[in-house]
Each structure stands twice: as C-alpha cells, then as structure tokens.
Subunit: 397 residues, 2 copies
C-alpha cells in the first residue's frame, strides 16, 4: 500500500494500517472501488455486445491504479489526453495508446521517443500542415508515426467534416509516409443531449460520420485500419456500431452529477467524491461552512446548464448516503458553503463532522488531487469506511 503524507492523524495510536475515512486530514478524494468496478464492467459488457474493442480514455482518473481494472488486470488499449499520461502509462507497461488531442508538431520528438521504446502511440490531426509535419518527422526518424484523422461529427471542437475536400489529401500525405492508421471522432455535444433518444441519435450520428469518412478514404484507395468513436453518453446509448473498430469513453469509470443529470447513470453509480469537514455554522444565512472549496472540487459547474442545477455538488455522509436536500452552493479557494433546498431543514452537524461531496464533473474534480484514497464500498461498517489503498495520479503535460 502506497500512502501519501498526512494520511494518519499523528495523535492516534495506530499500526501501519491506512485507517478509515475519518483519518486523513480533509479535503481528500475518495474512490469507491465497488462502484468503479461496476461502471467498468457495465461498459465492457456493452462493448462486447456491440462487437467493438474498448479503448478507455484514462484522462479522467489518470491513474495506473484505476486503469488496472479496465482490462482485467493487464495493460490493454487506452486513450490519453497528454504525453505525460502516455509516458507514465508506457512506464506502467501499456503499449497500445492513442493520444487524442490534435498534434502540435513541437511534441513529435516525445512521440518518436515512445515509438522507439516499442509503444504504439497514435496521434491525431485535422490539417495538411500537421500531416506534412508528421510525415517529415517520420521519414527523418525512419519510424512512421501512426496517425488518425480527426473527424468532426457535431461541431464540438476540432476535426474535419466527413465530406471536407482536404480529407483525402491528408489521407494521402499520411499514407505515402506509412503513417495512416484511421479516423477518430468524438460526439462532444452529446453532453448536451438531454434525453435517451437524443443520446441514441448522437451515437448513430457519431458512428455514421466516422464510417462515412473512412469509406471516402477507402474509395480513394487509402487503407483505414481504425474507425474510432466515443464519448461517455454515446458509448452507453449506441445500438449499432457496424463499421466501427473501437469505442472510447473516459468519464464512465467514475461518472458524476452531469452524467446522472443526463440519465446515463444513477446517483449511486458515482464512484468519486471529496471528503470535507464542517468548520463553521452561519444559521443566520442557512449555511454550513466546510474546508472543501474550489481547490478541492474545481470550479466546474457542469450541471448549471441542466434541468437540475446541483451547485458545486450534492452532499453525502461518510458512508456515501445522500443527505436529503443538502447542496454545496458556493465555493471559495478553501471554503465550501452548504445550504438546504426544497424546504429541507439544515441538518445539525457539529464542527468536525465529515461529509462526502459528489462532483459535477469527475475529470475536473479528480484533477485537483494528487491521488485517491480507495474504499471498497461493498463492506458494511459500524465505523467509517476503511481505506484500502492510495492510487496516485499522473500530473502535468
């Protein structure tokens, strides 16, 4: 077991055990490993049913400890959002990695260094100028950089439309250098698909667009090995992925209030929370004050555009049971404000009471922490849940 500093309260007589959620100084992030494994199994089963490979995006947890559960304990295919992740996961034995952010040519030396180590690291691009850079770097190194062309299926951010005139030209530049691997798209707008039907349509559109782009390249005589799609909402809504070779999703390992608001998961699937302590009372304003502010939760307010705005997060007790009506409604750097809504009474929680805050956006909240204290949510306890492990996060770029 690998424990961070200040995990055990120095006042307590304790052996080498990690203790319980009552022990580390707050705030700190907790992963409920039972819920996490259930979330991972759910999507793995879906991908099997859809006959596509699953390439989880590790950008949410950024943790080898979490990733160990993605492919039954062995390093399998993953997606990363930074080269720092690619390097850390390569060090951990992962050899099949897609770096799913449009490549900055300045970063190609680090890509080539990973390829030279035997890691299959794929990069992404959507312009001829990037393709020329990749082709040039590959020829110079004598090492073709496997490359996917980013396709825009919903106007979310980067990518080419499937019918863009440049698509075939880019494919040819890559193919001539031995670099063309395939196409990739991400239905980022599915985060705003508020019904199951809209999510199914987003998944169909994501699949149709990627396959159409692949077919255009193939019709031009360019081989397309990989047709990659995915986002957490569409991965859980897709009904037919014919022509798709792999599915990506990241958030699903933890889920969060945004995903619960979309109906992609239930509140009791949320595997990440932040333990905070009550440090004050402001009865005149109807507030409880905690030591968990935006530094612990992030500034993410993803639910603010949903039907039910969940503030900075819902509040649970240390065992994970929601405290009815209690919401974290404001945050400063190291202070959180909890208020009651829907006519609920503000509960009587003395200074020192520990609570768990369920986040809007797991990716953003997780990024505020060095790692995760891990509990096994299946065990009933009379005392606070026991800490089983500590999983560190990869940081930086």
């Amino acid at each position: 077991m690998n424990l961070p500093p200040h995990t055990a309260s120095s006042g307590a007589a304790r052996s080498t055990a990690a203790g319980t959620l009552a022990d580390p100084d707050t705030p700190f992030a907790v992963v409920d490993a039972h819920r996490m494994r259930r979330n991972i199994d759910r999507l793995a089963t879906r991908a099997d049913g859809l006959a596509v490979a699953l390439r989880p995006h590790v950008k949410t947890a950024k943790s080898l400890g979490v990733a160990a559960f993605l492919h039954h304990g062995t390093p399998g295919p993953i997606t990363v959002s930074t080269l720092a992740e690619a390097e850390a996961f390569a060090d951990g034995g992962y050899t099949d990695i897609t770096y799913a952010v449009g490549i900055d040519p300045h970063k190609l030396p680090r890509v080539l260094a990973l390829l030279a180590r035997g890691v299959t690291l794929r990069v992404l691009l959507d312009s001829a100028e990037q393709a020329e850079s990749v082709a040039r770097a590959s020829r110079r190194a004598g090492l073709p950089v496997p490359t996917q062309i980013e396709i825009d299926c919903d106007g979310h951010r980067g990518g080419l439309k499937a019918d863009a005139p440049e698509l075939v030209e880019i494919g040819r530049i890559l193919h001539d250098a031995g670099c063309l691997d395939g196409v990739l798209t991400h239905a980022g707008e599915s985060y705003f698909a508020y019904t199951a039907e809209e999510q199914r349509l987003a998944a169909k559109n994501e699949r149709d667009t990627a396959v159409a782009a692949a077919e255009r390249l193939r019709a031009a005589g360019l081989p397309v090995a990989t047709v990659s799609v995915g986002s957490t909402p569409t991965a859980h809504a897709a009904e037919d992925l014919t022509g798709v070779t792999e599915l990506r999703a990241g958030n699903y390992v933890f889920f969060d209030l945004v995903m619960a608001g979309l109906g992609v998961c239930e509140l009791d699937d949320l595997a990440l929370s932040v333990v905070v302590t009550v440090i004050g009372h402001r009865p005149e304003y109807g507030w409880l004050v905690t030591d968990g502010g935006w530094m612990a939760m992030s500034r993410d307010r993803g639910t603010s555009v949903q039907a039910q705005d969940q503030g900075y997060g819902l509040v649970a007790d240390l065992d994970g049971n929601l405290v009815p009506g209690l919401v974290m409604t404001a945050a400063s750097q190291e202070h959180g404000t909890l208020t009651a809504r829907d006519g609920a009474d503000l509960p009587d929680l003395p200074v020192g009471t520990r609570l768990r805050i369920l986040p809007n956006h797991a990716c953003a909240t997780a990024a505020q922490h060095r790692g995760y204290h891990v509990i096994d949510g299946t065990r009933g306890t009379d005392t606070a849940p026991e800490i089983e492990d500590f999983w560190t996060r990869v940081t930086g770029w």
Copy 2:
C-alpha cells in the same frame, strides 16, 4: 536553476540553458517577474503609507520563488490557506504564519508540530466549540496555539458579526488558555464592488468591523494584539487603517482579468499567463483551436458576472502584447477555442503558433500547474522571451 521535465525539446541541440518561451512543450504557466515585482512594490508602498504591516497571502502563487520578493528576500510574515503551505514555507525558513481558514480540530496535531518547531502559526475560528478544542489541545501539549477570531464584515462566508453575543465568550475561552491573539476579517464581497467608491466603502467597512470587534474584546478585559484585515480590492482602496495592525492580500502579486475588470489593476499588470499552441483551425465556425483547455486554465469564469465577460481569457502573443479582439471562449479538458469579437478579424495564425492566455482568476489558473517558467518582462528580444528560472508550487493540503 531548477527545471521541470520536458522543458527542452529533445530534438534541438542545446546547452544547459533553459531556452525561451518557444521551447517547453505547451501548455505551461509563465510569470513575468518584472510585472510581479511592480505589483509587489505597489502594495508594499501602500501599506507603508497606511502604517500597517503587510502579511501577503501566499495561496495565489504557493511558491517560495515568488515569496522571496515579498519581503526583500527575507522570510517575513505570510498568510496561508493550507497546512501544506504552512509546512512548506516553514521548511523554507518562514516563522510567522497565519493559517486563515477556520480550524478543523482534527488538524491541530500538525499545528502543534509546527509550533514545536518554533514557527508562530496562528489559527482562525468562529465558534466556542472550536475554541474549546484549541484550548484543550494547547493545555495538553503545554503549547498555546495563537488564535484569531474570524469576524464577518460582509456576509461572504465564515466569521462572527462584530456584535455577536458569542464573541466575548470565545475570546475568554482562548484568553484563559493563553491562546488569544486577535481578530481577522476578509472583505470577500469586495470582488463584487464594481467602482472605486464601492471599494473604498468596502475597505472602510472591513476596517471598522475588525476594530469594533477588537474594541468589544478589549472592553471585556481581553487583550487583542492583532487586528488583521484584507483582500486585494480593499487593500488597494483603503484610505485609513487606524486601529488595524496588518493588511493581507494574495492575488495582487499576479493580478488577473477579474481584478482588471474591477479597475484594481491594468491589463498590463497581469503577471501570470499560460502559453498554448494553435493546433487547428475551424474557419467555418470562426475558431482557432489550441492545446490549452480547462486543465491549463481552470474552469474559473470570474469575469462572467462583470460588465465585460472575458471568456476563459484574453489572448496575447509570446511577447505579451494583446491580440486585439481575440478571446478564449470555450474549453474542454485539453482544447481551447479562440474567437474574435467586436468585429475583429480572426488572425491568420498557423498550426504551431504560440500564444499567451491571460486568466480570469490567477489563484485558480496557477493551481493547475506544477510551477512557473519565469521571464524578465523588461528585456526586449528579437526571439521569444528567455526563460530565467522555474519556480515550483506547493500542492495538496
């Protein structure tokens, strides 16, 4: 000089020099040391004129490298937001520290450990139950924990009203244990004081409230050594701090778009920015896409409630000159979207172009980074600004 991993592009023939802002892989945070020193000097001069000690809040930069400029190169009085900061700054020779977040009794062992090392670490509280905990722990350790009573001057978050009945009772509990140091207040609502006059009134109210609380304690026979006030807006607006012993502010070392929107600083005072790279173009949407998303900028959108919403940030070139009309309007984890406003043309910036994004909220943006590449903004250069140093940040709690 202390450089982080991946600072120099591995492809270039280069000596041990840190290179320029064109070298490290993006995104990364940059501090313009010339602007920072100017900001630090400005408030130091103000505090001298107001005849109060300055106790800068190091929660913004969380960096010994930055802090070295606060008190002419010697460790002086500071404010911290976490015990991790207190411990790191104690290791760096700082012995006069105020921990300005209401104390969680569970953290007292770490407070006592710092006191036992000879660090004067003051804690903050606003309830009798916390005061009893501090008194008990102090007696048990034979080491009185110097304690300030938090006063609420504007309904921002924690604290007691200056006329709260409990004030004197809390003061007496602390005094009887040898722990009473004074009172502290923070005009957090001054971040929403949109005119110079409102800021002056907020500063007057902050001072008047703290002094009134101190006088109530003194009238009850309780000695009050410290009367501490401050926030970046009120510290720059206060005209009379009679009865106040010290002024706190944190954000002012870097400033940011929120402070510029309040008129507390000018845009060319902003000392923190994030270097990003153009990785794509979406002319059909009027977008430039960069590799700096919310992971690099944070999700903070503090200017969204100001007269001029600055999106996720304004855009400057690598030398720090603003690109007219260009704004970072959207962010995903590792993607930023830049758009033109006010009829400005989208500039023609090829893939690979580096830009600097000025943040909404320096405290939140800085927190996304391991440290700061430091440039000396006074030097004219034909090439990109030279990197003079790398200053690490304190992380965690």
